[in-house]
Amino acid sequence: MRPFHRAPRFAWWAGNRPYTLFMLRELTSVFVAAYAVLVLLMLRSLAAGPDAYDAYLRWLTTPSMVVFHLVALAAALYHSITWFALSPKAMVVRLGDQRVPARVVVGANYAAWIASSVMVAAILLRR
């Protein structure tokens, strides 16, 4: 028997739509990390004093940083939506004998997302 081995393609992730969407989903983590660093920089400027903090805020609101925020927001939303959609796969929730349907788990995630977002906004804007 002389089997023929087809070599793996280098850009397999550009090959078809599901693979490309998968790669985009994975790359959202870069924006999540970038934003975490942004928050860390804010905390560092906060610790350094009012002048450093004001300079940081001025930087944060420049046009290129606004663009970054928009792109990062799109990435974060894509991360959230795909994360919630996949959450029922890892955890099978059972009530007694019945398996809780996937869409209920997803719905609960969305509810918690809205609730936590409202809480964070309230704490940061109100007090």
């Binding site: 793996p8 280098f10 992730w13 790669m23 994975e26 790359l27 983590s29 870069v30 999540v32 990390a33 934003y35 975490a36 660093v37 928050v39 860390l40 905390l43 560092r44 906060l46 610790a47 009012p50 903090y53 004001d54 805020l57 944060l60 609101t61 940083m65 606004v66 925020h69 928009l70 990062a72 927001l73 974060a76 939303l77 991360h79 959230s80 994360w83 919630f84 890892a90 918690a112 997302w113 936590s116 977002s117 964070v120 906004a121 704490i123 940061l124 804007l125 109100r126 007090r127």
Partner: protein
């Protein structure tokens, strides 16, 4: 580090993915609101107010969790993305580079939060 400690890194990845999925969008929205000067954000983000809010012990824990877990989420996901996307062999170097960055970021976060 590559394969035997997998459950540990995966748990951090999962926790980080959940925390960031819930919280990062609203933070980004608030950042955009600040840039637009909308909804009283200029006053809400004044130095004294932010320092007071951020110094609260619960806020420090929240910020630590938000930053650190987001970094570990990225580290695990990016390690696999590089390995699969660029056909790199799953290596210790790649793991150290990714998780190491997240560990450094976490340490820096602890130091900064202590200084508030």
């Amino acid at each position: 580090m590559a394969k035997t400690g997998e459950p540990f890194w995966w748990l951090l990845f999962a926790a980080g993915g959940t925390v960031s999925a819930f919280l990062v969008p609203v933070h980004l929205l608030l950042g955009l609101a600040l840039a637009a000067g909308a909804g009283g954000t200029r006053e809400a983000f004044a130095y004294d107010r932010v320092l007071t809010v951020a110094s609260h012990p619960l806020a420090r824990i929240y910020l630590f969790v938000l930053i650190s877990l987001s970094l570990f989420h990225w580290a695990h996901r990016f390690r696999f993305t590089l390995a699969d996307g660029l056909h790199l062999k799953s290596s210790s170097f790649l793991s150290w580079a990714c998780y190491g960055s997240a560990i450094l970021g976490t340490l820096l976060t602890i130091v900064t939060l202590a200084r508030l």
